[in-house]
């Protein structure tokens, strides 16, 4: 037995059409049956009434025994001309009776003085329909109750036939509707089949391939649009990942090349101890560079997976910025730069991560600012200048320098991205992950990063959100 969810759409539609047909046929059948039955009763009543009037008319004029015999003849004619009709007359005087007025018949017919009744005669297949009337006494004749009955067999069998035919037609109709429904659904779903075939031809080797929405009905056109949108995002993510892999490979291969090359050169002939020491020291530097890249990558990857537990406390940000400034004091001094902290706001932060982000931002600013200029750290509350840890915060580092061309601003926070690939900072261990780490730290705090640069004034910073009550604070 197939479960419902295993059925194809065409099969489901066919089944639903069949159900609908069943319902319609049943309703129509019941209604028609009811109408026919009512009509039959009305017809029977009219026939009974005509016959009753004929008999009652004769009886009403009869006032003596002689006339009664004529009435009996009339009745006899009526009965013999139509075998399905029965007539009874009943009165207190046995002379004025017609038919074998057995007490059962009398009782049955007398139960209803007016209107139609039913009477099942012994040996009859179907009940008779009856109608009776009381004729008042006239002359010698006492009051007579006249009953007319007609056999309902033709009517009942007509109704039976009708029902049978309706049922047969209904079953055929339902079957036909189901078959047609299945066919219609398959024809209607043909565009879906086309779409599915087209989707099967999509391959990872050609990422820019898309589905063609032009030949499709509007419903599927929208689906195709949505699906193509998902493909766009996947392609972008894939391309980013690809570029990222290339960057990682480059960043790790460079020190590896140095390590292998230097070691091979050193081992290629006998060396003085001092020369070997130099090689070892240089190797150590390269190894540290690799360790730094791996550690930063791991940090970014774990931050991306939300795998870093935050230890958030509510502190004045200015103090934390000042501590970072103190750490970088010598660098600022050497570049002749001043650090100014503008604003005061308290926020929920993981102090170690916050200092790491601040170190990266300030270091970045020191490297790109004009010597002798001022670096400003602007601290603002989320919705008020001074707040009590409840409204988040915004930290912006502003410096004056060459500025960042607009096309680089959005990508500054990408991993391994460098505004100027050729620019090297002498003596700096710099591998293009600093601002990515700022971004990761900001998003760990539920915040975002931003960058802006105009007329040599570059502002880079991040926001911090207030932790939700359920998150660790």
């Amino acid at each position: 037995m197939k479960r419902v969810r295993d059925l194809s759409i065409a099969q489901r539609l066919a089944a639903m059409f069949a159900l609908a047909a069943l319902l319609v046929f049943a309703l129509v059948g019941v209604a028609l049956y009811h109408v026919l039955q009512t009509q039959i009763v009305r017809y029977q009543h009219a026939e009974l009434a005509t016959k009753l009037r004929y008999v009652v008319g004769s009886v009403a004029l009869c006032e003596s025994r002689e006339r009664w015999l004529k009435v009996e003849d009339k009745v006899q004619n009526l009965i013999s001309s139509d075998r399905s009709t029965k007539v009874w007359a009943w009165s207190s005087n046995p002379d004025y009776r017609i038919g074998d007025g057995e007490p059962t018949i009398s009782a049955a017919t007398s139960r209803r003085d007016l209107g139609m009744g039913r009477l099942l005669l012994p040996g009859a297949e179907y009940p008779y329909r009856t109608l009776q009337e009381q004729v008042p006494a006239l002359g010698n004749r006492p009051a007579v109750r006249v009953s007319v009955a007609i056999d309902s067999k033709p009517y009942v069998s007509a109704l039976r036939w009708f029902t049978l035919i309706m049922l047969a037609l209904g079953v055929c109709g339902i079957g036909l509707v189901a078959l047609l429904g299945h066919w219609i659904a398959r024809v209607g779903l043909r565009p879906l089949q086309r779409l599915s075939n087209e989707a099967q031809t999509l391959s990872p080797s050609n990422l820019s391939q898309r589905l063609q929405p032009a030949q499709l009905p509007p419903e599927l056109g929208r689906l195709t649009g949505t699906f193509n949108g998902a493909l766009d995002r996947l392609e972008a993510a894939y391309t980013r990942l690809d570029a990222f892999n290339a960057d990682v490979a480059h960043e790790l291969r460079t020190p590896l090349t140095n390590l292998m090359g230097q070691t091979q050169v050193a081992l290629s002939r006998p060396r003085e101890a001092a020369q070997l020491e130099d090689v070892l020291q240089s190797n150590l530097e390269e190894l540290e560079r690799m360790r730094d890249i791996i550690n930063d990558m791991l940090f970014l990857s774990r931050a991306g997976q939300g795998d870093i537990a935050l230890d958030r406390v509510c502190v004045p940000l200015a103090e934390e910025v000042a501590k970072t400034g103190e750490f970088l004091e010598y660098l600022l001094e050497e570049a002749g730069m001043q650090l100014r902290i503008d604003g005061a706001v308290d926020a929920w932060i993981d102090t170690s991560l916050f200092r790491r982000a601040m170190t990266n931002l300030l270091h970045n600013a020191v490297q790109h600012a004009t010597p002798g200029s001022e670096i400003v750290v602007e601290l603002r509350g989320g919705d008020a200048a001074h707040s009590d840890c409840g409204s988040g915060a915004r930290v912006a580092v502003r410096n004056h320098g060459a500025g960042v061309p607009p096309q680089h601003l959005a990508r500054m926070f990408d991993r391994f991205y460098r505004v100027d690939a050729a620019r090297e900072h002498r003596g700096e261990r710099h591998h293009g992950l600093g601002l990515s780490i700022v971004k990761a730290i900001a998003s760990l705090h539920g915040g975002t990063v931003f960058a802006d640069s105009r007329e040599g004034r570059t502002t880079v910073g991040f926001s911090l959100a207030t932790p939700q009550p359920h998150s660790p604070a």
Binding site: S282, R291, D292, N295, L298, D307, L328, Y330, E334, S352
Partner: protein, 238 residues
């Protein structure tokens, strides 16, 4: 100073044994957890270096069994640095935790810190060659000349002097002096050392503050100084 290394990776165990032996430690090596636990229970070590990933019986299990009988200080080594691992290790009774790849001098510093923990209070007066440091008064003299140091410079000097003869990495210095507990990728420590060196060594013949390229910095009185009473720290305390 007696030390036990429990580590199954041969190269790691060997370089640790050689390096630590050179620093004056008496080193035993166990290549699996069961042997390690046996040695740790039967012999008395000053400190144990315990790898987490071991064949047969892992580091956590060794530590649990050991703690039933002994309180020998333990440093755990692991390539995994997730927070729950760390909590697990410390919860099981480890005294410190080091993530691979760690630098050798970092391990050395932690080992010395663990062994020092049990000793008496640090002296408040330090003497290295002709350099005198008073930690309480926060004053430093060289040859009776008062050295004019800023607060951070003094903190840096005090750190180097307290761990004299011991190589301090930039990471350790940044953490101890500025409370910066991550690799900042800046040359702040280099600049700070350069400034301190100019003040304490600049005008004097005997240089005390030395750079060990690729590793860090060390403060010690080297050859030609008759007051040299501070060779490598590991040996003095042995």
């Amino acid at each position: 100073m007696k030390l036990l290394i429990v580590e199954d990776e041969a190269k790691t165990a060997d370089y640790l044994r050689d390096g630590l032996a050179e620093q004056g430690w008496a080193v035993d090596v166990a290549r699996d957890g069961t042997t390690g636990l046996h040695l740790a229970r039967e012999l008395d070590y000053d400190v144990i270096v315990l790898d987490v990933m071991l064949p047969g019986m892992d580091g956590f299990a060794v530590l649990r069994e050991l703690r039933l009988r002994k309180q020998t200080p333990v440093i755990m080594l692991t390539a995994r640095d997730r927070i729950d691992d760390r909590v697990h290790g410390l919860g099981a009774g480890a005294d410190d935790y080091l993530v691979k790849p760690f630098s050798f001098i970092e391990l050395l510093a932690r080992l010395q810190a663990l062994v020092r923990r049990g000793r008496q209070q640090e002296p408040t007066e330090l003497q290295i060659g002709d350099l005198q440091i008073n930690l309480l008064a926060r004053r430093a003299f060289r040859d009776a000349t008062r050295l004019d140091l800023t607060g951070k410079e003094f903190a840096l000097l005090a750190l180097l002097a307290q761990r004299r003869g011991q190589i301090l990495s930039k990471t350790v210095i940044a953490a101890q002096v500025w409370d910066i507990n991550f690799d900042s990728h800046t040359n702040v420590v280099e600049v700070a050392i350069k400034r301190l060196r100019a003040k304490i060594d600049g005008p004097f013949r005997n240089k005390l503050l030395h750079t060990v390229r690729g590793m860090g910095y060390v403060l010690e009185a080297r050859e030609g100084d008759e007051d040299d009473d501070a060779p490598v720290a590991g040996r003095t305390s042995a």
